[in-house]
């Protein structure tokens, strides 16, 4: 029932020749017999074996006969050997298969009609293919209360469980959350959680996907559909910027499930729960489905034309009276690359403004990220060293954490942790350095010393030092942190993996949604003869200061009335800017605020025009992840109501303002990018559709990422891990070559920037011994709009959301009462919060969860480089 398209690999030193039922098979040295057989077209049945988990040989379904080996060894724990003679279609083997299936079914409840797994069940399928016709068991089966809730998303039915340990092995070995385990023994063995400790893992949904029976079911999907009713479309998750590959499944134009697809260089089949279950916000009843115009007395629903007309009129008026610098554009980081490209074109090519910021969050500057050597996710597997700077990637980029954890625990990769707070990677790190917020540059010496001691370890590696640098707390200025990152990157072995988590911010930056840049990692005053609109942009902004205007100064300009029109493409300054009051005042002061978004939020209340946009899974396009990998996203449902793709909205506005447009479909935009944006050169839809794992840009520097191996195609829906079906036959490199040598491709691409823009050296903000320094850190369960609107995710509780963590020694000077309340005060006011003493917090800091609603946000002042607070008892 499997077919393979992999040709028999040529025999070389790494190969091993063996026979299976007399047929010669060539396999890789060290490969497990079960996978070698599968590649040769022999499907050996199995339950406990999974390609991404360590084999345990427990289910005994894969037993085979091997010449010279006593008994029936399991194929999943036997590596291939030269000259091995394997017998699979053999009476002994078939009798054993019958026996094992019969054993598994004797206690398995007859739940098929009501079980989620029915129709895509390895137990059903393998019973039909390898089991006996009937069972002889006439006794009473074992019983448990069913189902029980083991986490916010997962239900467990112990009667159905066949004790294969895939879930416990995943939780323990892959996720590092050993919260489910076997209890009791023998026939009473069950999987369960520890008393009082639910399976509160960011990755709990993966066990539902890999469970070979219906023992683990997901609450959001339970009883929803049968697999034969589902339409499956491969796509890329856009909840964060790791870009996990997945398959979206729909039924009657509703998306009902998202499963992980095994992409070797990115997520290896895993998804985090946010990505897996968080898509349902698209069906929220709070979705805005029709544009509206707001005046002081009313909110009026209008059609798109009227909205666009008003927007264009306001922009035209502002340009005529105050010049293009009176228009700013914020956002474009939550959509696709195509959305970002046309937003950039509108802003820089048509309007002629450089006041563009892709995200409100405080993070590394775009020019620094785009001009630095970039690491790839799979560089972690054999890196010389990995540095984590200012991030808890388990919260911000969860699946990247899985990859890093694997590298450390299986390949002994050395990890240097430089943070101001306790993270999930701290226990994996061999060197721990305390980072002082606002004074990060002073940790450079300690980091270099740590690197030095690691380089003394004699170990083969790819010689890369991967620097994972996170977003910065909104309570401080990013100058010192940026200086540290830039300085570390001067080391020729250090490659950057920017841990910026907003879903497509990397794509937005690639498309030029940052000050001083144009699409393709190109500086704004470089000239491209081919794209007229870029010429317009560079002309109009030649006077613009190359020193990037950051978000803070842009909002300052806005509050001083210098900005008349603000276009917010999926941006929420009030929600995400450090000094909330400041953002509110700025938007209040701006004459015309245009919100292009999917839900109303704290910023859209200042909007004069609201145009509803489509969201993930409602549109085709591409996105860019942290390694610069461009992957396709697919439209799987037709959006309801009058919602529009961002690129379409931007294009319509541009047209009204007199700009040219010849974009009918999103593919037109993708191909336009391939012909105008240097870093995306030649990355046409033709190449992308053949690239199974996407393409890392710039493509000509990363051709090996395009060279995909042809994966064995598996037909059954019960198959795990799910393998990508995308273009598994045609080589994208051939298409790329065709594209590069096409006679019409006489494109003169401008140069990519090689240096970050120069910035003034910041003053170090040393710790003040009379105050504690506040930092906000990304939390997994942030109270963001998209998460609150998701029924599945809003179930997940976040009990410590409004608390703070302080080192016990820092609070011992005051006596904290039993309710743990303390007062924190600065010039902006004072706030009472609950404190959790935490010895892993850096001395002199206060750690709080990054949330617009956190009580301490009141005390962040945009004029201060850092936020220092005095601690008082109540």
């Amino acid at each position: 029932m499997t077919s393979t398209q992999e040709p028999v690999s040529k025999v070389d030193e790494d190969s091993v020749r063996l026979t299976i039922d007399g047929k010669e098979v060539v396999a890789k040295k060290g490969e497990l017999l079960i996978t070698a057989a599968q590649k040769a077209g022999v499907f050996i049945p199995r339950f406990c074996y999974h390609d991404r988990l360590k084999p345990v040989g427990m289910c005994r379904m894969c037993l085979v006969e091997i010449e010279g080996v006593r008994g029936l060894p399991p194929a999943c724990t036997t590596p291939v050997a030269e000259g091995m003679e394997v017998r699979f279609k053999e009476n002994n083997v078939e009798k054993a298969q019958d026996g094992i299936i019969e054993f598994l079914l004797i206690n398995h409840p007859l739940d098929c009609p009501v079980c989620d797994r029915g129709g895509e069940c390895p137990l059903q399928d393998q019973t039909l293919s390898f089991g006996p016709g009937e069972s002889r068991f006439v006794e009473e089966k074992r019983h448990w209360e069913k189902p029980i809730e083991i986490s916010d998303h997962v239900l467990l039915d112990r009667e159905r469980c066949i004790q294969c340990s895939r879930c416990t092995r995943f939780a323990d070995d892959v996720a590092g959350d050993p919260l489910i385990t076997f209890v009791e023994r023998g026939g009473h063995t069950e999987v369960n959680t520890f008393p009082g400790d639910p399976f509160a893992s960011h990755f709990s949904g993966n066990i539902v996907q890999i469970c070979p029976v219906g023992a683990l079911t997901a609450k959001p999907y339970r009883f929803n559909s049968r697999p034969w009713d589902l339409t499956s479309t491969e796509t890329t998750c856009t909840k964060c910027s790791v870009g996990c590959k997945g398959v979206a499944q729909t039924s009657r134009n509703e998306m009902v499930r998202f499963l992980g697809v095994d992409s070797e260089p990115v997520n290896q089949g895993w998804l985090c729960d946010k990505g897996r279950y968080g898509f349902d916000f698209m069906d929220s009843e709070n979705r805005i489905r029709k544009p509206f115009i707001k005046t002081s007395d009313e909110k009026r629903e209008v059609n798109l034309n009227e909205a666009i007309d008003l927007v264009a009129a306001k922009i035209t008026e502002a340009i005529e009276q105050h010049g293009p610098e009176s228009i700013c554009v914020i956002g474009g980081a939550h959509g696709t690359n195509e959305d970002a490209y046309l937003i950039a074109k509108l802003a820089k090519g048509v309007i002629g403004t450089d006041l563009v910021q892709a995200q409100v969050k405080n993070s590394l500057p775009a020019d620094l990220v785009l001009s630095s050597k970039r690491a790839h996710i799979d560089d972690l597997d054999d890196a010389k060293a990995v540095i984590i700077l200012g991030a808890d990637i388990k919260d911000s980029l969860p699946v990247l954490f899985l990859r890093l954890r694997k590298a450390v625990t299986e390949n002994a990769i050395s990890l240097i942790e430089a943070n101001s707070f306790h993270t999930s990677t701290r226990d994996l790190s061999s060197e721990k350095i305390d980072l002082v917020p606002g004074d990060e540059i002073n940790s450079k010496k300690a980091i270099l010393e740590a690197l030095d001691s690691i380089s003394k370890i004699d170990k083969k590696s790819n010689n890369k030092i991967v620097l994972i640098a996170g977003d910065i707390s909104p309570a401080q200025n990013n100058a010192s942190y940026t200086e540290l990152v830039q300085s570390l990157l001067e080391n020729e072995d250090v490659y950057l993996l920017p841990s910026v988590s907003t879903s497509n911010v990397l794509g937005a930056w690639e498309m030029g949604l940052a000050p001083g840049l144009l699409p393709g990692r190109v500086a704004i005053n470089s000239v491209n003869e081919f794209a007229d609109w870029q010429k317009v942009a560079s002309e109009a902004t030649k006077q613009s200061n190359e020193n990037s205007i950051d978000m803070t100064s842009m909002l300052k300009n806005m509050s001083e009335g210098k900005i008349k029109v603000a276009l917010l493409f999926g941006a929420n300054p009030v929600g995400h800017f450090g000094d909330i009051e400041f953002a509110q005042n700025a938007l209040e002061a701006c004459e015309t605020v245009i919100s292009i978004d999917c839900f109303e939020n704290e910023s859209s209340q200042y909007a004069d025009v609201f145009i509803p946009s489509t969201v993930a899974n409602e549109k085709d396009g591409t996105v860019t992840n942290i390694e610069g990998r461009v992957q396709r996203v697919s439209q799987v449902v037709a959006p309801q109501g009058n919602v529009y793709d961002d690129w379409k909205i931007a294009d319509l506005i541009a047209q009204r303002l007199g700009g040219q447009s010849d974009f009918e479909t999103v593919d037109d935009v993708t191909n336009a990018i391939a012909r105008t944006a240097t870093s995306f050169a030649h990355l046409t839809t033709g190449v992308l559709s053949r690239a199974r794992d996407g393409a890392i840009v710039p493509v000509d520097e990363n051709k090996d990422a395009l060279a995909t191996s042809i994966a064995p195609l598996v037909d059954t829906p019960s198959w795990e891990p799910i393998v990508s079906r995308a273009a598994s036959t045609e080589d994208p490199l051939i298409e790329l070559d065709r594209e590069e040598h096409h006679p019409s491709a006489n494109i003169l691409f401008p140069e990519i920037i090689t240096q970050p823009f120069s910035r003034p050296t910041p003053h170090s903000q040393h710790l003040n011994q009379y105050a504690l320094r506040l930092i906000f850190v990304d939390s997994y369960r942030s109270e963001g709009t998209l998460e609150n609107e998701s029924k599945a995710l809003s179930n997940v509780s976040n009990p410590n959301a409004d608390m703070v963590r302080i080192h016990p020694k820092d609070i011992e000077s005051i006596s904290v009462k039993e309710d743990n309340l303390i007062t924190l005060r600065n010039d902006s006011g004072s706030v009472q919060v609950r404190v959790i003493p935490d010895k892993f917090v850096v001395r002199g800091t206060i750690v709080a969860s990054d949330d617009a609603s956190h009580p301490l946000r009141k005390l962040v002042n945009v004029d201060e480089m850092v936020t220092d607070l005095k601690l008082e008892a109540i």
């Binding site: 427990m58 054993f103 004797i106 002889r136 006439v138 074992r142 066949i162 076997f182 023998g186």
Partner: protein, 443 residues
């Protein structure tokens, strides 16, 4: 001529009730061998043990000297683990050895650890054995106090630390790799082999796991010499063994005998024969895991030879325990009770044992309680064949460890010796509903 006990490892305990106190033990000559041994050449000791033909006394019967020589010569540290998790049904000899001669075990550990160049030994003691734990830990404390365990033992330069670890009530932890797992703090479930413990065992280091009786024998072998020990016994079953005899005998208990005497001699001469002048209906040599023998001359006159019992009758001497049943015994009830034990003790790791032992127990319950069906016995044989293909000893197995196949032994024996009795019972006492299972399906 009546056979009597040949006391080597039960000698001192027989001479004094106070032997568990170190002063008494020393006064009876104890620890002298150890003090000499740790000044000898370790390889010589291994050779001596090899020559003696000593085989594992826990159930496997593997030649001890050969097991010791599997350790890779350059890999350190290595560990010695004493399997004191005596759990094989009807075996109680190790318990006696620990309670009445704990110092002999400690002395054996010192000699054996020295021979395999190990400086750390663990005693995995079955948790339920409370008195054994008290005696053993007290004895160990005494030995440490006298400098016989610890750093620089008796000024020889040899360091040895001994740790006692109590089990928590699982028969499966008597299986060496499950024992090692338990010692490491994991669930007691057997590991896949390869790698074997000698290469990667406790903490992934080379490890030797030996039974209490085996180790207790080592000082005596060193003292008398390997050759002299090999003179005792028969063929490849050299020396003496303690047999735990239980059941319908007049004098149940532990008997140390020279290997080669017959079952009849053990039962009649030593254990006093069957109670109430009864007759042997059947007996289970080698602990609950072995197939059965019956009260025929052929079986009773079979010598206690670890290999011959296997080649002639497909049974094993196993852990050295014999359960004897007289003519009043219901063999089906016995089979059920044994199956119940294995179902309860199955660790649950692999499918055939986890599900199969429970199935066996349920069917045997019906058969022994008047609800048997005609095809039950044949079905059980086939189910057993799916756990242990061929239904032979030595076991072939679809499972990871021999527990699964052990559970099948009673079914095979029931069929071999008592098939008629079973079928009669089913026909005459059957209260169950008519079997709806198609006869054709049963293999």
């Amino acid at each position: 001529m009546t056979v009597t006990e040949t006391r080597i490892i039960t000698k001192r305990m027989n001479e004094s009730d106070d032997n568990h106190n170190i002063d008494t033990y020393i006064s009876l000559g104890g620890y002298e061998v150890a003090k000499r041994t740790i000044r000898m050449n370790p390889d010589d000791i291994v050779e001596s043990v090899k020559t003696s033909g000593l085989r594992g006394r826990g159930g496997g019967g593997f030649p001890t000297g050969m097991k010791w020589s599997f350790l890779p010569p350059d890999s350190f540290p290595r560990y010695l683990v004493i399997n004191a998790d005596e759990g094989e049904p009807s075996t109680f000899k190790d318990h006696m050895l620990i309670v009445r001669d704990p110092h002999q075990l400690i002395e054996g550990i010192i000699c054996s650890a020295f021979a395999i160049k190990s400086n750390k030994a663990f005693i995995y003691l079955r948790g339920e054995l409370a008195l054994a734990y008290d005696r053993l830990s007290a004895a160990l404390a005494q030995a440490k106090e006298k400098g016989l365990v610890g750093n620089d033992i008796d000024g020889s330069g040899f360091d040895l630390d001994i740790v006692i670890h109590r089990g928590a009530g699982a028969y499966i932890c008597g299986e060496e790799t499950a024992l090692i797992e338990s010692l490491e703090g994991e669930r007691g479930m057997p590991r896949l082999r390869p790698p074997f413990p000698a290469i990667a065992g406790l903490y992934a280091k080379p490890t030797v796991v030996n039974n209490v009786e085996t180790i207790s024998t080592v000082p005596h072998i060193i003292e008398m010499g390997g050759d002299a020990y090999a003179q005792l016994g028969v063929n490849k079953s050299t020396g003496t063994r303690i047999f735990s005899v239980s059941g319908h005998v007049n004098k149940p208990g532990n008997y140390e005998v020279e290997l080669g005497i017959t079952f009849r001699q053990l039962i009649d001469d030593l254990a006093g024969g069957i109670k109430n002048s009864g007759k042997v209906k059947f007996f289970i040599p080698g602990g609950g895991s072995s197939q059965w023998l019956i009260g025929s001359d052929e079986h009773l006159d079979c010598p206690l030879d670890m290999d011959e019992v296997g080649t002639r009758f497909g049974v094993m001497l196993g852990s050295g325990a014999i359960m004897v049943y007289d003519q009043t015994t219901d063999p089906i009830l016995v089979a059920w009770r044994l199956a119940k034990f294995y179902a309860h003790e199955s660790c649950g790791k692999c499918t055939p044992c986890r599900e199969g032992t429970g199935w066996l127990e349920k069917v045997l319950y019906r058969m022994s309680h008047g609800q048997g069906r005609e095809n039950d016995l044949d079905m059980l044989l086939d189910v057993g064949d799916n756990i242990s293909p061929g239904l032979n000893a030595p076991f072939s197995q679809t499972t990871i460890c021999p527990l699964g196949p052990s559970a099948v032994s009673c079914v095979v024996s029931l069929n071999k010796f008592f098939r008629e009795e079973v079928m009669n019972r089913i026909k005459t006492q059957n209260n169950s509903v008519e079997s709806k299972v198609d006869e054709e399906v049963v293999v």
